[in-house]
Subunit: 373 residues, 2 copies
């Protein structure tokens, strides 16, 4: 489906612009599709909440069968637990006394908190929290399967597992990875190949660690782009996709969604028509984010629902549109814009506007916005 | 001065990371330098508050002699007036009844509100507000001097001025431009040439309109990069720089600041050292923004104060550092990071941490954060 085919409601009950709209009908379909895929493959679904930063949407994910959620930072996990989400993986190394004290408190408030790590020094801190709490804490050992960010190289994973296994207070729950590098794929076939390769690498690491007599209950790769192939990989027991709930121009560009599966869009108003082939809308990078389109091309975002205009440049408050000669676009008109990357876009908003059948049915507080510590 | 020469305090009284620090000593020097430059040239200074989004910093600008402030959006202007700033230019076309009602209210609360526009349709709306208020409203006519965003082409400015002058309720206060295109300069000489050219173009427009018998009291170009040359251009009466208060890697890259004049920096903590030549800090684009470096090169941000590490990639929560072989960088260490573009970075924070002589002396609420309508 072309970006111009999908009808996006821009009326939004007359709400002033720019706003970030979530089409709840599209979102629910996205949630169910991925949940059904996980069920079909017999893997747990632990969605990453960094995409929506909202306990309300996290609860919808649990309602569709997620076993718990993944959070990007301790503060994001705190916002989830405060919102009633009781099972959280913090997919970030926690370093420093201030964060360890907060982790201890969070473990009291939640049913289950797991943390990821790739270094014994970090595991030591977690172990100290566990001893103060008087109970074991589950940890995910992070393995680098190609992204070259955090995570031990696969060859070092056994040694890390052995070191961590010797610590009092931590219990190895999983090996995990985030295969963000699969986004470099330029075809669906290459995406599948890269996605399967990183998942298989993680499964191999689990086998190696188990071969040394250390239990590894969970094998957890995590990425929206790779999720269907991860779930289909023998030995994977859990997936952690994030973006699938809302999708964006990058998941479309990377063979993992169509425009009709993009649930989030910015509604903007035309505020200037200074020359015939140019218009300016009241939304720029402060409203749809500054992330570049995967695969290049330079488009700062994507106009959807009409084919006579294209966003060609953006500054913070201005989106500059190239306008076809026969377009009737006028000051006051509204357009729908799908962002390149929805996760940092959501982080720019205090609330999302939930619509169903084109009408506003609720606002969704982004309670984990800005939680970076 | 090299980025590695300036000493940046990363202790920040033990505050947990990531945080956005403002060195108030550096900021005050920046404020005074530009204010003195404006005084020397006899032009008014109306700083753009989009950089700091904080009434407290705006008051410091007024204390250094600014005549008022410039705001990017109506909501930003409301935050300024709520914070006691009584003279505001809204440098954005206001379209739609909801915004016009808010403008009317704002005009009651503030001493003076001016608005920019480049279209008679927008001027009509402003005139309707003026009539309801029973007093004239000052408007700035926006002229495109090369950025190709909003603004009438210079050749169309006289006709716009004549049309607007016929409206009851609006009073032409100024012609204005934003010469953002000067950032394309690849040398200081080219920057000067582009900056002078756009300022002179604006002065010419003012002359043309005045020649037709229409008063234009103020000639107002606005850009940190162009400011020294604008102030030095015969006929210019006001400048509206924004970034100068804090500066960033882009003002350094564009010959308009040095690293020791960068007042804002993110303090981050090393959380992973998975291989000898790589480290990861707890700050990514959610903490220092996703804007690219002007002039390319791909650096997502700039480590300052040490020369053994460089940020080479970033995702939302992770900054990936390339580490020299002889570096002693370890998990738990802190680094100072100057962002490419400070304005959208500030928009990611609820508060800035103000330090003086290396100690925290106040927090600065970013009350206009997220005010995009």
């Amino acid at each position: 489906m072309d970006a111009s085919d999908r009808r996006f409601s821009t009326t939004v009950d007359g709400l002033d612009t720019p706003i970030l709209v979530v089409d709840l009908d599209v979102m629910e379909a996205n949630l169910e599709r991925t949940a059904a895929m996980a069920r079909r493959h017999g893997v747990h679904l632990r969605p990453h909440v960094k995409t929506h930063k909202s306990p309300w949407i996290a609860r919808r994910q649990l309602a569709h069968g997620a076993v718990g959620v993944t959070a990007a930072k301790l503060g994001e996990a705190e916002a989830m637990v405060d919102g009633g989400i009781m099972d959280v993986l913090i997919a970030f190394p926690l370093v420093g006394d201030a964060k360890l004290r907060r982790l201890e408190r969070l473990c009291v408030d939640a049913d289950r908190v797991a943390v990821s790590l790739d270094d014994l020094a970090v595991a030591d801190g977690i172990a100290s929290v566990a001893r103060r709490l008087g109970r074991d804490l589950p940890v995910y050992l992070e393995v680098d399967t190609g992204l070259r960010r955090v995570g031990v190289p696969p060859a070092d994973a056994l040694r890390l597992a052995q070191d961590v296994a010797r610590l009092d207070g931590v219990r190895i729950e999983a090996v995990m990875t985030h295969g963000g590098h699969v986004g470099a794929a330029t075809s669906h076939a290459e995406l599948e190949r890269l996605a399967r390769a990183q998942a298989e690498r993680l499964v191999d690491v689990a086998h190696t660690i188990r071969g040394a007599g250390i239990e590894v209950p969970t094998v957890s790769p995590g990425s929206t782009l790779a999720a269907p192939f991860e779930a289909d990989t023998e030995g994977v027991t859990e997936i952690r996709p994030g973006t699938y709930v809302l999708n964006d121009a990058n998941t479309v560009a990377r063979f993992s969604a169509s425009w009709d599966r993009c649930a989030a869009y910015v509604v903007a108003t035309v505020v200037a028509r200074p020359v015939p082939d140019r218009a300016v809308v009241d939304a720029g990078t402060k409203s749809f984010g500054a992330d570049v389109r995967i695969g290049g091309g330079g488009a700062p975002a994507q106009i959807v629902g009409r084919d006579d205009v294209r966003i060609v440049r953006a500054s913070e408050e201005h989106g500059v549109l190239e306008v076809d000669p026969d377009s009737d676009l006028a000051i006051g008109d509204r357009v729908a814009i799908v962002m390149n990357h929805v996760c940092p876009t959501v982080n720019l908003y205090d609330e999302l506007i939930g619509v169903s059948n084109g009408r506003v049915v609720r606002t969704i507080p982004v309670t984990a916005r800005g939680r970076r510590t």
